[in-house]
């Protein structure tokens, strides 16, 4: 029935039925009157003529019914009839009904939940206009393809490029935010004011940045993210125009950004203007690299052309300012939206496919069960055919049944989705971009509808097609015992079950690979000891902490408070915590006795500013030389401690102790620092990549150009005694100590170092957990499918088994026969599954860690697991065959 006809008959049914009935009645009346006129003319009196005419006409109700049917309004009636009938049939087999509805509800729920995450993160528009012309630009460096630009560099590119309609600069900006209450640390960005225009960003309320916001002396302003607006201001639209304290400076809130807004690798809690022209670093060629760029390509310019142009600008600048281009070998250009979601796409799609596969397995299971039921219902359907039901009508009847199941299952699925979503949000690692405003929109609902419809078709079509195909007259004659379409039916079921096993194996193999990667990664040594270590991030307000001395004073006061705390073993400060997300700080250095041949080859190292007890608190071992002491202060020659990785890479020929290196950690010129110690390697950025060289300098000797950095990013780490008071108790004391020293300091949440370590595994744990549970479900469903097909086979062959037993076959032989059948299905499924898994292996390669995506061990292990579970299902099913009594079996036919 096509849609238009359906709507038309609906319309007739509900709006025109009364009118049609009136017309029909009038027509009957007219007919009877005309007939009576005729009879009257033939000599009857009027009353008798009318009576005769009415009798001749017969039942007017039947007449109306037949006419209505001819008018086509009946398709809806028939559908309602079918649905009612299905409900009655389903009520008679509550077991099947429950299994079907639960399977579909879970399958549809999981798939829709996964889709809603995919939708929120990947599919939703980004709120940028014409986003495929937006490019995200990094400085390509010898040691990092995604490095930063300095401010003068940005201004040169901006002023010289002709490929872009504009270039904006973006810097990470992690200030404290306060109105009346406690200051809060937020993670945002500073952007050149043209950024909003270049991105084509519209504000949700208020306005975005305009060129004037970058002018020297402009009123300081700030934009809020949707998340901050919702969390901190309860979505109050009156915040526009209000003042808020950002890093000790009053800024006016001018607008709120849409929830879809995100930038690659940067949090965007707040957005403030960068004001490049008035920045003191504007002309400091050798100043810190802290900017990324985003540009809008001019029409008809390709990214390759833009890349070539920026590169030639870079080469000119490099000739002009050779010192400022140490280690900078090019630019890296990537599409903006691609860069935002690149890391998570593979993970999300894997999870989505896993959910969809589970749903598919569930549907095939139901199709299998429906096939068996159809077999049992053959006689009923044969009778219907004999009574004049057309083939189309029969298919419709059977489809109506799966439609009813799918609609109920789908509606329950939405409830499951809602619950699943809540669980999912708890599990989701926070670094999924744009996940904050995770919601069900029309796309998700449309998706749910399509999935439900597909489920109906998959579940219902096979049995319907098969049944209507078989010769039902034969069935009637044979009394409905043998299945006329039996051969085809069991063949179809075999295919279905093998397909299920194959799909389950693909999922299991994926889960196995993820698990092996996860196990490998979590056994990696991070280079520090996270037990009983608490960490807290804080930032110091700019107005009070203007130079190194004020920061040192803060440290001294804090140290004296912390040392008085009971249960605290060691505590120290560090500028960037290992595994802290989205923070990088590195410097270039040279050995005066071995200058690099080309300036691009100048080595770099992670750069951390610490206090003496940091290593002890973190349990980072000293390998040679000494730790820092409080005497390593501004009056003494500068010293540094390096990691064994740096020694291995750059001091293979001699001991580094006592050597001076030239370290480029300030805006002027590299300064000489003496190496006094060597410590163990630490994984600073993530657990996946091997430890890079580290260099530590004492807080008391920080160069004045490092002060803004230190103000912005500071972590306090404290090793506690587990016996005293417990972690929560110590955490509140740690916070209190920081506040006592200076209440204007923005203090973040206290996190145990073990949690920081866990967060580094969070996204892998997330996908492992989801794919793992989906493959568990797939395994269960596939085993259930196998069980069903085997036990149905046994049921069909009860007579055959009885004959065999009567002829002297042992039960062992019967069992072997059944197992052979099961093993055949299993073998075919596993073989197909392995082939598919190997074919798809490349897709999961990006999620592997030190495990080949074709890891034979994982593949073998999951095949064995699947085999065991499936044979177990076979065994349980075959126990029924063992109980066949030959006498009963033969008599029942």
């Amino acid at each position: 029935m096509n849609l238009i006809a359906c709507c038309r008959s609906l319309g007739r049914r509900f709006f025109r039925r009364a009118k049609i009935d009136n017309e029909l009645e009038e027509e009957v009346r007219a007919h009877i009157q005309l007939r009576a006129d005729r009879l009257e003319r033939d000599g009857l009196d009027r009353a008798e003529a009318e009576r005769r005419a009415r009798i001749e006409f017969g039942s007017t109700e039947r007449f109306k019914e037949e006419c209505r049917e001819e008018l086509g309004g009946n398709s809806i009636d028939a559908l309602i009839q079918d649905v009612r009938f299905s409900l009655r049939t389903l009520r008679k087999s509550p077991g099947f009904f429950a299994v079907a509805v639960i399977t579909l509800a879970l399958g549809i729920g999981a798939t829709v939940a996964a889709f809603s995450v995919v939708n929120a993160v990947l599919l939703r528009p980004f709120g940028f206009s014409d986003s495929d012309r937006l490019l995200w630009i990094y400085s390509q460096r010898s040691d990092n393809p995604r490095g930063n630009f300095s401010l003068p560099e940005y201004c040169d590119y901006r002023d010289q490029t002709t490929s872009f309609d504009g270039l904006a600069a973006i810097a990470s900006f992690n200030p404290s935010l306060s109105d009346s209450g406690e200051p809060e640390r937020v993670q945002g960005v500073k952007v050149s004011a043209n950024a909003c225009n270049i991105l084509g960003l519209r504000s949700l309320i208020g306005r975005t940045l305009i060129a004037d916001d970058d002018k020297n002396g402009a009123e300081p302003v700030v934009l809020l993210s949707y998340g901050v607006w919702a969390r901190r201001y309860a979505k109050n639209p009156d915040v526009i125009g209000r003042s808020v304290n950002v890093n000790g400076e009053s800024r006016q809130i001018i607008g709120v950004l849409p929830s879809s807004f995100a930038l690659p690798g940067l949090d965007t809690d707040i957005v403030a203007p960068l004001q490049p022209e008035s920045d003191p670093r504007r002309n400091a060629r050798n100043s810190v690299n802290f900017l990324r760029m985003v540009g809008r390509l001019k029409p008809h310019v390709t990214p390759q052309q833009a890349h070539a142009e920026l590169d030639s600008i870079r080469q000119n600048l490099r000739r002009q300012y050779p010192d400022a281009y140490t280690g900078k070998i090019g630019v890296t250009i990537v599409p903006l939206t691609e860069e935002i979601v690149a890391n998570v796409r593979a993970v999300l799609l894997t999870i989505f496919c896993a959910a969809a596969a589970v749903l598919l397995i569930g549907c095939t299971n139901l199709a299998g069960i429906s096939l068996s039921r159809a077999g049992a219902r053959q006689r009923e359907l044969a009778v219907r055919t004999a009574l004049g039901a057309t083939r189309r009508r029969l298919i419709r009847l059977l489809m109506a049944e799966s439609f009813v199941v799918a609609v109920i299952g789908g509606s329950l699925g939405l409830i499951v989705e809602k619950l699943g979503q809540r669980a999912l949000l708890r599990l989701v690692p926070t670094d999924l971009p744009r996940i904050e405003s995770f919601a069900i929109d029309w796309k998700v609902l449309a998706f749910a509808a399509v999935v439900t419809l597909l489920a109906t078709i998959i579940c219902g079509l096979a049995p319907a097609w098969l049944l209507s195909r078989s010769d039902l007259r034969d069935t009637l004659v044979s009394g409905g015992r043998g299945f006329a379409g039996g051969g085809l039916q069991s063949q179809l079921r075999t295919w279905l079950v093998s397909g299920q096993i194959a799909l389950a194996l693909v999922l299991l193999a994926n889960a196995g690979l993820l698990f092996r990667s996860f196990a490998r990664l979590s056994s990696e040594k991070p280079g520090f000891d996270s037990t009983n270590v608490l960490t807290v991030r804080f930032s110091l307000p700019q107005v009070t902490y203007t130079d190194r001395e004020t920061i040192v004073q803060f440290y001294e006061k804090l140290q004296s408070r912390l040392s008085a705390l009971p249960g605290l073993q060691n505590s120290g400060l560090v500028s960037i915590l290992p595994l802290a997300p989205k923070s990088v700080s590195f410097v270039h250095f040279t050995r005066p006795d071995k200058p690099p041949a080309k300036s691009e080859d100048t080595p770099s190292t992670n750069y951390r500013m610490i206090t003496p007890d940091y290593f002890r608190a973190m349990g980072i071992p000293l390998l040679a030389g000494r730790y820092f002491t409080e005497e390593d202060n501004g009056d003494r020659p500068p010293v540094a401690i390096v990691s064994s990785v740096l020694v291995k890479n750059h001091f293979a020929d001699r001991s580094p102790l006592g050597q001076r290196v030239m370290v480029d950690d300030n805006d002027a010129a590299p300064r000489a620092i003496e190496i006094v110690g060597v410590v163990g390697p630490v994984k600073q950025a993530n657990l996946e990549t091997p430890a890079r060289p580290d260099m530590y300098v004492p807080l008391r000797q920080v160069h004045k150009d490092g002060v803004p950095w230190l103000r912005n990013s500071n972590y306090c780490v404290a090793k506690i005694n587990s016996e005293v008071g417990g972690a929560t108790y110590s955490a509140s004391r740690l916070r209190a100590a920081l506040r006592d020293v200076d209440p204007s300091v923005a203090v973040g949440n206290v996190r145990p170092m073990s949690e920081v370590l866990g967060a580094a595994l969070a996204s892998r744990r997330f996908s492992l957990l989801l794919v793992g549970s989906f493959s568990g479900a797939a395994l269960f469903l596939a085993a259930a499918g196998l069980y069903a097909v085997i036990s149905y086979g046994i049921q069909q062959r009860t007579r055959e088994i009885g004959v065999r037993l009567a002829l002297g076959a042992t039960r062992g032989r019967i069992l072997a026969m059944i197992f052979k059948e099961g093993a055949l299905l299993l073998g075919a499924g596993v073989a197909a599954g392995l082939a598919i898994a190997l074919m798809l292996a490349q897709l999961v390669a990006s999620q592997m860690y030190e495990v080949s995506e074709r890891d034979p061990f994982s593949f073998a292990l999951v095949s064995v697991l699947l085999g065991i579970i499936s044979l177990l299902a076979c065994w349980i099913a075959s126990r029924r065959a063992m109980n066949v009594d030959p006498v009963v079996a033969l008599r029942c036919e």
Binding site: E23, E26, E27, A30, H31, Q33, L34, R35, D37, R38, E56, F57, G58, R62, F63, E66, C67, E69, E70, L71, G72
Partner: protein, 113 residues
């Protein structure tokens, strides 16, 4: 009524189209017209007439209009559409061919087989 012929399946529609082709008729008049043009050998059951009429209307072969009957009663008149006229032509040709074929077959003599 021993000479009353049973209708072959599918011929009712054809007869209705033929009856209406001579001018718009209301339901009862269709019955009467069929009786008349078949020289009173074909009788249509009243119950079967209207479903057939509605079917033909739905197929677009007939159109309807309310009007006054010859003895001044309000009744629904059925009229042939262009599509209906074409269908009548086709069905008539087909019927004639079939009738000739069957007639020839039934009249065949032994030596001709």
């Amino acid at each position: 009524m021993s000479d009353e012929a049973e209708l072959l399946p599918g011929t009712l529609d054809l007869l209705i189209l033929k009856a209406v082709s001579l001018g718009p008729l209301h339901g009862y008049a269709v019955l009467a017209r069929i009786e008349q043009i078949s020289a009173r050998t074909l009788f249509i059951e009243q119950g079967a007439l209207y479903p057939a009429l509605f079917r033909l209307v739905r197929q677009g072969l007939l159109k309807t209009e309310w009007g006054k009957s010859e003895n001044n009663r309000r009744a629904k008149f059925y009229e042939l559409t262009a599509k209906g006229r074409k269908r009548l032509q086709e069905e008539t040709d087909w019927w004639n061919r079939l009738a000739t074929a069957i007639g020839t077959a039934l009249n065949a003599r032994p030596q001709e087989t």
